[in-house]
Symmetry: C2
Subunit: 335 residues, 2 copies
């Protein structure tokens, strides 16, 4: 190859290296990170015992952190907080870059906290893939993608990752109470925190907020069930997961913090429309008692195509910007 | 308070802040991080299916990384790689600071990968606390600490964390094969890796090394069972966990990489003495076939008091230095 060609090739390569370096974000600066267990109980006696039913917390504290932590509470797999389906950065990294201490939570009996005090059986359910596709609003029940859905639908690897982003969980009221109690202990240890949740995680976080004063706000992506005061709110079944009734004194604790429930696109085409209606009942009831709850329909602010897991969707930076706005408005982003 | 006093107080505070800042290590620089699932299968049919039996990988790539990754493979909880029992940094952070890409692994059916293809039951076993205390060599079976043990034994919080650093695992040959197969796929995706393991994780990693050419070395803390070639090695039971027999062609793959099996202190006072003897048989057999295996008894290099989980002990920096030495000697620390 003539020297001129080689030089041109080298120049092109250097230019590419420069461009790539420019496109690559600066490294995250992590002051400290680790994990701990919290809550739980001890069964047996001094001679023969078992520590069990704790939760598992994984944390990262960036350099020069903001004062309030984000406590990310999944309802399928922590992976959805760590990674977008196309491999882009999840909320964990996005909000570390924005200066927040970030905590990932596996509640008692879930994931890395599945060291339970009671026996349980796990039964694989064939058909869960199709159920998730529909319930996560990737598309309709017959397997067709929603037009404009914020999912890398031509990438089979992305769908494979989404279908595997699950681990065993327990959508029962006793488990929600167990998880809410353990999380409250975690948050007491962590200090001022915003609970950022997905799906049934939102219900569990509402329980936690009745038990820890360190919960400073809740931002919940698509909550199917809520905490209501005894004697008020909807009667009977509230949808796919049972809501939880608490004494009015506990419910009143939810009126002292800002709460935002976020919904994505296409809800009205699916069973989620019932949960959106329930969200409005919850928000209205909190506010009727002097609270500060709101519902954010992403399409109403021009953000379209989001699934049940908006924070892992292709446009998750846009969705994250809405969370940043909320944190700023509520002075939860101070250093 | 007189101004002079206030000034002196402020000065003392600034001095303290300076001293603390000096003691605090520089932040870790993380280029990218996230998680993904890998391996696994799909059961059912196109109309009704379930993705299951994958493993879960959590990763961090530091700025200016070395070429070879560390793949940390626990046998109780990933927490032991993340955090020392007294809250100090675990191997995850220590080796990120030393420039290595670090991967944490939950094998199929374990922790965040417990989305199994087969039903299973979990039964809490009261008495596991006492069994761990003894099996992890914190002390004797009657609950007395070993003298000089590298555990913060006066801190009840530390013992609580240790007793909770478990999640369900399955010490069976089929599970070791399942995990080894999925890990090999993970490592094929990651590239050149050193498998760093604890306890039964070592057996599973040996299986993985027969299935992926990207396994460049194994450093195993306290392996109770090994991979042996059919027709050679020990006969009958090999201790608390079954060893695995493979065709000679697969065993020969283990002769092509450096392998170090590390043991802590007090092994001869416990049932682990049998596993140390088995380690010598394994090392001798690998080397008789032209391999590069070695046993490192930490007390032989002046490192005393280590438990079954040396990398989470109080002196884990000293133990980590031995790993750094091994990596350097084998040119596995190049950038």
């Amino acid at each position: 190859m003539p020297v001129a060609h080689r030089m041109r090739g080298a120049l092109a390569l250097s230019l590419m290296a420069l461009l790539c370096a420019a496109a690559k974000p600066a490294p995250m600066l992590i002051d400290r990170q680790g994990s701990f267990t919290v809550g739980g109980t001890v069964i047996g006696d001094a001679a023969k015992s078992l520590h069990c039913d704790h939760g598992f917390v994984e944390y990262q504290i960036p350099a020069h952190p903001r004062k309030t932590a984000l406590f990310l509470w999944h309802s399928a797999s922590v992976q959805a907080w760590q990674q977008r389906w196309d491999g882009g950065e999840g909320y964990q990294s996005l909000f570390l870059r924005r200066g927040f201490p970030v905590y990932l939570w596996d509640g008692p009996r879930v994931g890395r906290a599945n060291w339970a005090c009671e026996p349980y059986n796990v039964t694989p359910r064939i058909g869960t893939d199709q159920m998730n596709f529909m319930a996560w609003r990737f598309g309709t029940a017959d397997g067709a993608w929603f037009p404009g859905v914020q999912f890398p639908k031509t990438d089979p690897q992305a769908l494979d990752q989404a279908m595997r982003a699950r681990y065993d969980e327990f959508d029962t009221t006793p488990n929600a109470l167990l998880q809410g109690g353990a999380a409250a202990k975690a948050i007491d240890r962590i200090g001022p925190s915003v609970l950022v949740t997905n799906s049934a995680g939102g219900l569990r976080a509402l329980v936690a907020a009745t038990k820890s004063d360190q919960v400073k706000a809740i931002v919940a992506y698509e909550t199917p069930a809520f905490v209501f005061p005894e004697g008020e709110g909807p009667k009977g079944s509230t949808g796919p997961i049972d809501s939880i009734r608490v004494p009015m004194a506990d419910f009143m604790k939810l009126t002292r913090i800002p709460i935002q429930i976020v919904w994505g696109d296409n809800t009205e085409k699916t069973f989620w429309r019932g949960s959106v209606a329930l969200t409005r009942q919850f928000v209205d009831l909190v506010n009727a008692h002097g609270g500060h709850a709101e519902i954010l329909m992403l399409p109403d602010v021009g953000i379209h195509g989001n699934t049940h897991i908006a924070f892992a969707d292709l446009n998750n930076v846009q969705v994250a910007d809405q969370l940043s706005l909320f944190l700023k408005k509520n002075k939860l982003d101070l250093r």
